[in-house]
């Protein structure tokens, strides 16, 4: 039996947990200790054995303390044309002195917002890593957008990560968007060095009545970064939430994205691209819960896999008995560029209502040879032709990014990757 499936792997983290949110932490700790890390054969983590990966790569199961981040560090990662607020994190700790203050929004560290009902959206009993984070996170960020506030400029969350004193980083973010508010977040993590570390991240988002929240995410960390993230969202009547997740690098990455549609006429969109090479392993587990009538969800994930990379997609859609007139769409398409690349894709629909429109589809294939020949027959070299076709494939997802500077940046990153040797 692997030592890591035992509950005591993270014991020192649990023992040294901060005193904030004590009652919530105590409960989460109990939940975690009862569950333990997912075992090798556990269905939810069948293709992504985080425990095994941690065992081979992580030596110090202690919190990586915050380290000094400079203004130059921040400037070096701001992409062209970005005009918005920047919130900076060092190993998960929010650094107000290096961050800007978005106008009209409450931003503080979580320890200063002790009434926050942490764990009420990302419920600890749903996932052991989520429970572990709740029991032992150091500090995190609290964001509240007031009612009717339209935040014009995007808010960039930059996380600088580096293993120094320990190798475990546990960011935690709580976002509440008030009724009729609008806000866009861009979540970008940076590896400061190539040293291995483990990020166990939790983001809870609550979208009030008629709110519009965009959450864009760029995962382009070092080839030694191991990450599990739980992003869970509750949205209410007439609201809209859109997630666009771009995974370009890492060692092993597992994203649990959950969307609870709790009010009628709400709309949830989950989009993603994973563009992988080397031995990168990216697993997107998404979960949409239609609990009420007249809500809509759209999901589109596209994967391009080269070398020995591996992609996993699991899309759960629940349509509860009361959720009549639901529209739920899901699609996952993959292109394998090498014989050694692997994709496991699994749609999982559970429909209890009888008057709904649901569709799903997944494909795994190679580049279209006929299209490739057509481009070559017009004088375009093979690399450029391949790049054009792959970019066209991924472009459908990138178009979903409404924030212009981030969309351009994402496009340039992906084109650069597709245009080079890949």
């Amino acid at each position: 039996m692997s030592t890591l499936t035992k509950q005591d792997t993270f014991q020192s983290l649990l023992d040294s947990a901060s005193s904030s949110f004590a009652p919530i932490r105590t409960q989460a700790k109990e939940t975690y200790l009862t569950q333990g890390l997912p075992a090798l054969k556990e269905e939810e983590y069948k293709f992504t054995s985080i425990a095994k990966k941690l065992e081979s790569k992580i030596q110090e199961f202690k919190s990586a303390l915050p380290f000094a981040v400079s203004k130059e560090d921040i400037e070096s990662v701001l992409f062209e044309g970005f005009d918005g607020d920047v919130l900076v994190f060092s190993n998960g700790k929010y650094l107000p002195e290096l961050s800007t203050s978005p106008e009209g929004i409450t931003v503080s560290s979580l320890s200063q917002a002790e009434n926050t009902p942490l764990g009420s959206i990302a419920k600890p009993e749903k996932d052991a890593f989520s429970a572990l984070n709740l029991a032992s996170f150091s500090d995190g960020l609290f964001i509240s957008v007031p009612k009717k506030q339209k935040v014009e400029k995007p808010i960039l969350l930059i996380s600088f990560n580096q293993a120094n004193s320990g190798q475990v980083i546990q960011p935690r973010v709580w976002i509440e968007a008030g009724d009729f508010s609008e806000v866009t977040f861009i979540d970008h993590s940076i590896s400061q060095t190539e040293d291995p570390y483990f990020v166990n991240k939790v983001v809870e988002i609550k979208g009030g009545l008629n709110s519009h929240v965009n959450y864009y995410r760029l995962q382009n960390e070092s080839k030694n970064a191991i990450e599990v993230s739980n992003i869970h969202t509750d949205i209410f009547q007439d609201s809209r939430f859109t997630s666009v997740n771009l995974s370009l690098s890492g060692d092993m990455v597992r994203n649990n994205l959950t969307l609870n549609l709790l009010g009628s006429n709400s709309e949830g969109n989950m989009y993603g691209v994973y563009l992988l090479n080397g031995k990168t392993h990216v697993d997107n587990h998404t979960n949409v819960d239609h609990t009420i009538p007249h809500a809509e969800s759209n999901e589109l994930y596209k994967g391009i896999l080269a070398d020995q990379s591996r992609g996993v997609f699991n899309g759960k859609i629940f349509v509860r008995q009361d959720a009549q007139k639901t529209n739920a769409f899901q699609q996952n398409n993959n292109i394998l560029l090498s014989e050694d690349a692997i994709v496991n894709t699994k749609p999982q629909l559970e429909i209890w209502a009888d008057d709904v429109k649901c569709s799903h589809g997944c494909t795994v294939g190679q580049l279209d040879e006929e299209a490739l020949f057509y481009l070559k027959a017009r004088g375009i070299d093979k690399n450029t032709a391949t790049g054009l076709l792959l970019y066209a494939f991924a472009g459908e997802v990138l178009e979903k990014i409404e924030e212009e500077s981030f969309r351009s940046y994402a496009i340039s990153l992906i084109q650069e990757r597709l245009g080079s040797k890949f």
Binding site: D368, E369, E370, A371, F373, Y374, L375, K376, A377, R378, G379, I380, D381, K382, T384, A385, L388, L389, Y391, A392, F393, G395, E396
Partner: protein
């Protein structure tokens, strides 16, 4: 310009071309006709460099160079253009971006400066008139949702942009109504010069009323079994292919 000598090609071990000989000079239009399955499209594909065909014997010299040694993109850059029988729909790749990429790679190969956006658009507008193609079509993804006629017109438009020396039209007439046929043929005729040559692959004589060939060749069982002038095409239209088949089959039986 083009010299095909004893060309043999097969697909997955099945011989399709069994010794083609053909000389094409600048300024000429050659029509390749023949019954279904005779190897017409295979010949066009082999010349363009489609990879599923294996050339087992023979050689093709294009302007002094071994054509068969070149990658498909280099053949295009050297001046060979294949108008596809079934142009491919490519969602997500805009027609404009595709053409500009193609044209600039071709220009680079020929030692010409790349065209900037303005010059490219000017050239595009000029060539669009040739085939009466609507700008709206070109702002869409390449061939996506185009009608059959629009796809064929787009092929000739691409030909106009890339200015090839040798154009091979693979059943460009199939599926076209009379109006579209006239537009496409007009485009081809305007692009002809005494420095370029055209090979028209077709099943029917109809197209040859518009694009008048200097030579007509009949392909049967992978060989050119009869050559003549445009009158041969008219004779074929009238009598069908059976008399040629009989002639050839009885000759080989002896």
């Amino acid at each position: 310009m083009l010299s095909i000598k004893n060309l043999h090609a097969s697909v997955e071990g099945t011989p399709i071309l069994r010794g083609i000989n053909l000389e094409v000079k600048a300024g000429e239009v050659h029509a390749i006709m023949g019954p279904n399955g005779s190897g017409k499209s295979t010949l066009a594909s082999v010349l363009a460099g489609r990879e599923e065909y294996e050339v087992t014997e023979g050689e093709v010299i294009f302007q002094g160079k071994e054509l068969l040694e070149m990658a498909p993109e280099d053949r295009a850059r050297e001046g060979v253009f294949l108008a596809f029988q079934y142009p491919v729909e490519i969602p997500g790749v805009s027609s404009t971006n595709f053409l500009r990429t193609a044209l600039n790679q071709v220009r680079e190969y020929r030692g010409q400066e790349p065209l900037d956006a303005v010059k490219f658009l000017t050239l595009m507008k000029e060539k669009m008139k040739l085939v009466e193609i609507d700008q709206k079509l070109l702002s869409r993804s390449l061939n996506e949702g185009f009608s059959g006629g629009e796809k064929k017109r787009n092929e000739i438009f691409q030909m106009a942009m890339l200015e090839p020396t040798l154009s091979i039209l693979d059943e460009t007439d199939s599926g076209l109504d009379i109006d579209a046929l006239r537009i496409v043929s007009n485009g081809v005729n305007k692009l002809k010069s005494d420095k370029t040559a055209t090979i028209v692959v077709t099943h029917y004589q109809r197209l040859l009323d518009y694009i008048v060939p200097d030579f007509v060749h009949v392909l049967y069982k992978g060989r050119i079994v009869k050559s003549g002038t445009k009158d041969l095409a008219l004779e074929l239209e009238e009598k069908g292919y059976d008399w040629i088949k009989e002639e050839v089959d009885s000759a080989t039986a002896v």
